[in-house]
């Protein structure tokens, strides 16, 4: 008796809950509480409908008179939002209102939650027109494939000519995924060459002959000198990234699961982790680790290499060099540095290096054409770009000469009221340069980009939709073995075969197969 009562009560409770759920389910579409969950379907339909009608309208009227439009742009920030952000946006609005009758609203979002926020905004259909996304770890391609970004080929043809010219038509092709372009890469050096950055004071102190350094094998005597004479300092730091992250003479084709050796190899993809070179490099790293050249916590530290150098914990680090990098790293570490390019590697441009940061048009944008007009200005309008990068003249910088500026008296890079991370700046080539830095850096970079050798697979982007399970398993295997191996912390003799066996079990062969098929198709389409 008692038992049946209990069960009865439980059933009643369940029934009640079910009714509540269904009641809310049917009414949820209009309810406020469920907005984030139930709304996207109707909302996105209406917004795409809106953009259709909007586009037909504005095509007709584009040359005559533009309707006023409010444009929302989202981008990640690294640290606190600059206090004068709104002042700068107000200035930007003066330009955009005059040119394309548009007012801009910015949404600076902290990098830690940026990706989640973008997911939320995309799924809830919240107002968003222009968004920034990252080229690395396949984020740009997954944003494109999951419909977060609009394809912009037509818009580029109509309103983005200046932009295409600024980026370079050939490099623009790098942003093509499955036949369509979904975003515009930010401008920077498109090619990189591995090299080492060393502290100048210590190089001078021990008269280290940097001309003798050609490859990583020439570093041994340098490291020994530093190790013997500088207690408390390791000769080379491995942080979140380590030397082998950068010592590449192959196109890693995005994720690095299946690479193109020598940037060509007849477009035949190989498994980098199984190559002789990989094993040899691992041995070098392990030798360094055993000799005490590397910080002991290399496999686990959460510090970046530049942090370690800034903290006087290391003498050097290996990285991907490009013309503007030394000045950037000097600013970051506050130390004078010496750079040496490894001459057994060549500067190459790959899709991964070109598509680092991307500005794309969000799918829920109500007027993609207007967004493209603004995007075009972001790459071509000198006044606008200077506002975006440096802020307001007289307040955040003062002019020294025509193209050179400095911070106003009493203000430096850490106290200025407005900054923009170089990752998200669209076109720094037409902006001012800071006093004390190479004023011709833009031309240098542009020359470097034009002269760079191009990977045979430049423009190819792998889409991993078909092999998601394998990708997840592989990324866990890499997490488990890659860092401990590549930092030299473990003996590769035992661990490398285990690593490769695990990769096989995780299905790296299937990923490579899939990638090869996509690459072949891409090559056929681009002949």
């Amino acid at each position: 008796m008692r038992r049946t009562l209990r069960i009865g009560r439980l059933l009643m409770a369940l029934l009640l809950i079910m009714t509540l759920i269904t009641a809310c389910g049917s009414g949820g579409g209009s309810g406020n509480a469920s907005g984030s969950n139930a709304n996207p379907a109707p909302n996105s339909q209406s917004s795409s409908g809106g953009s259709n009608s909007g586009s037909s309208d504005s095509t007709d009227t584009a040359e005559k008179q533009l309707e006023p439009y409010e444009l929302t742009m989202a981008f990640p920030i690294f640290g606190a939002t600059p206090p004068d952000m709104q002042l700068v946006v107000d200035e930007i609005n003066k330009i955009t209102q005059a040119e394309i009758n548009t007012t801009i609203t910015v949404l600076p979002i902290s990098i830690g939650s940026y990706y989640q926020q973008m997911n939320l905004m995309s799924s809830s259909g919240e107002k968003l027109d222009l968004m920034f996304t990252f080229g690395n770890s396949g984020l740009y391609s997954s944003d494109a494939m999951s419909g977060k970004l609009l394809p912009i080929d037509d818009l580029l043809d109509r309103y983005g000519q200046g932009l295409v010219e600024a980026v370079g038509a050939e490099y623009m092709e790098s942003a093509r995924i499955g036949g369509k372009i979904y975003g515009v890469p930010t401008l920077h050096s498109f090619a990189q060459q591995p090299g080492i950055l060393m502290r100048k004071d210590i190089v001078d102190k021990y008269n280290i002959d940097i001309s003798s350094i050609k490859t990583i094998h020439d570093l041994d005597p340098v490291f020994r000198t530093v190790k013997d004479h500088e207690p408390g300092m390791v000769p080379i730091a491995f942080g979140l990234s380590n030397a082998m992250t950068f010592l590449r003479n192959y196109d890693k084709l995005g994720d690095g699961y299946g690479v193109l050796p020598g940037f060509d190899n007849g477009l035949k993809i190989v498994n980098w982790f199984e190559t002789e070179e990989y094993a040899e490099l691992l041995n070098v790293m392990h030798e360094w680790f055993k000799a005490g050249y590397v910080n002991k916590d290399a496999a686990t530290t959460q510090a970046t290499t530049s942090d370690l150098l800034k903290a006087d914990a290391t003498f050097s680090y290996i990285t991907m060099l490009k013309p503007e990098l030394k000045a950037q790293e000097e600013r970051m570490t506050g130390k004078e540095l010496v750079e040496v390019y490894f001459s057994d590697y060549e500067p190459y441009a790959t899709t991964t290096d070109v598509v680092v940061g991307v500005w794309g048009i969000a799918q829920q944008s109500e007027d993609p054409e207007r967004v493209m007009m603004f995007l075009n200005m972001m790459y071509t309008n000198k006044e606008l770009v200077n506002l975006l990068i440096w802020g307001i003249e007289g307040k955040h910088y003062v002019k020294v000469s025509d193209n050179v500026i400095r911070y106003p008296d009493g203000i430096d890079s850490s106290t200025v009221g407005y900054t923009m991370n170089s990752l998200t700046t669209s076109n720094p080539f037409i902006a001012y340069t800071l006093e004390g830095e190479d004023p011709n850096i833009s031309q240098t970079i542009q020359k470097w980009n034009q002269a760079a050798r191009k990977s045979a697979a430049l423009g190819f982007t792998f889409t991993a939709n078909e092999v998601q399970n394998e990708m997840t398993a592989i990324s866990n295997v890499l997490q488990q073995y890659q860092r401990v191996l590549e930092s030299g912390s473990a003996d590769p003799k035992e661990l490398l075969p285990e690593f490769n066996a695990q990769l096989k079990a995780a299905g790296i062969d299937r990923v490579i197969e899939q990638k090869q098929a996509q690459l072949d198709a891409w090559a056929a389409a681009n002949k």
Binding site: G138, S142, S146, G147, A299, Q468, S475, N476, Q480, V484
Partner: protein, 321 residues
């Protein structure tokens, strides 16, 4: 079983007197319930629609509900690799160990607190032992790091030399130590706070029982065994059951932060949550991460039902429902 007379008497009594509830009498209470119910509904029930994401390939242009159905494809990655066994084993075994040891130690601490008669000391002890619960895992991870760091760690620099061990131990690359480290850290953080519930239950025991037992010549241990334990068992079972429901969830902070996510330790430290996190941070695949969550919830739900069923068969009064 009538050790908790106030509660057990209150429940059946109105039923006998009147079959229907006197709604007018409970009016204020029912109204007071409304905000809580609404909160529960919005916070705990509405998000359940999100379960459909686990069976979809999310396309933002189409919207979540209009995206294509993919069946169980999103779940495959959990079982696709040979890591599935390791992460399941780690998750369940760690949680079982935490559950058993945590309960035992919390209870012992509660018993000890119960013996402290000085009010001031009691308050201080309670504050001190529940302090770790308030410290975030990120900070705990640095405290642990201060002990285990290879170069500057307290253990490598101070304790090992005292024991005559010369060579440094590379704690963060040796999987074999971690089951002990993690258990220790978890207990340190959880026991003090967990003991509060048991301590409250102990406070509720009428002193008359003990006095009667003393008259009969029962020793301190006998009093604990024959009086305290039977009275507190329902509370223990309830707490254990609540934890069992989460046996398929690992404490992400513990397994991710405290281990510094060191890859080489994965054989003893990877759990379902860290596996999913490590696998999907790059791709940001909504469907697959939702699938993992759904899988964990369903297994947890089944576990709670099963355990409750078993408890009820043995001793109906102690079952949760």
């Amino acid at each position: 079983m009538s050790q908790l007379p106030s509660e057990s008497a209150a429940l059946p009594a109105p039923k006998k007197r009147k079959r229907k509830y006197d709604y007018r009498r409970y009016h204020p209470l029912l109204i007071m319930m409304i905000p809580g119910l609404i909160y529960l509904l919005i916070n705990n029930y509405l998000p359940m629609f999100g379960i459909v994401i686990a069976f979809k390939e999310v396309n933002f242009a189409k919207g979540i509900f209009a995206s294509d159905w993919v069946g169980f494809k999103n779940f495959e990655f959990l079982f696709a690799s040979n890591n599935a066994y390791i992460i399941t084993r780690n998750t369940i075994l760690y949680n079982l160990v935490f559950l058993v040891l945590g309960t035992v130690f919390s209870f012992i601490v509660a018993l000890m607190l119960n013996e402290v008669k000085n009010k001031f000391l009691l308050r201080s002890y309670q504050a001190i032992i529940s302090m770790p619960h308030l410290i975030s895992w990120v900070i705990v991870s640095y405290l642990v790091f201060a002990f285990l760091s290879v170069d500057n760690g307290f253990i490598n620099r101070a304790i090992l030399p005292m024991l005559g061990v010369e060579e440094d131990i590379y704690w963060y690359t040796e999987p074999k130590y971690w089951p002990y480290i993690l258990t220790l850290v978890d207990l340190w953080k959880r026991v003090g706070y967990g003991s509060i519930v048991y301590f409250a239950a102990l406070l509720g025991i009428n002193d008359e029982y003990y006095e009667a037992a003393k008259l009969d010549g029962a020793s301190r241990l006998q009093q604990i065994w024959y009086i305290t334990l039977p009275i507190v068992v329902p509370v223990i079972i309830m707490m254990a059951m609540l934890q069992l429901g989460r046996i398929f969830y690992s404490d992400f902070g513990l397994f991710y932060q405290v281990t510094l996510n060191s890859g080489i330790l994965f054989s003893t430290t990877a759990t379902i949550d860290t596996y999913v996190f490590n696998g999907l941070t790059g791709s940001g695949n909504l469907g697959m991460s939702t699938a993992a969550g759904v899988y964990q919830s369903i297994v947890g739900f089944i576990l709670v039902l099963t355990v409750n069923y078993l408890v009820r068969r043995k001793d109906r009064e102690n079952a949760l429902f």
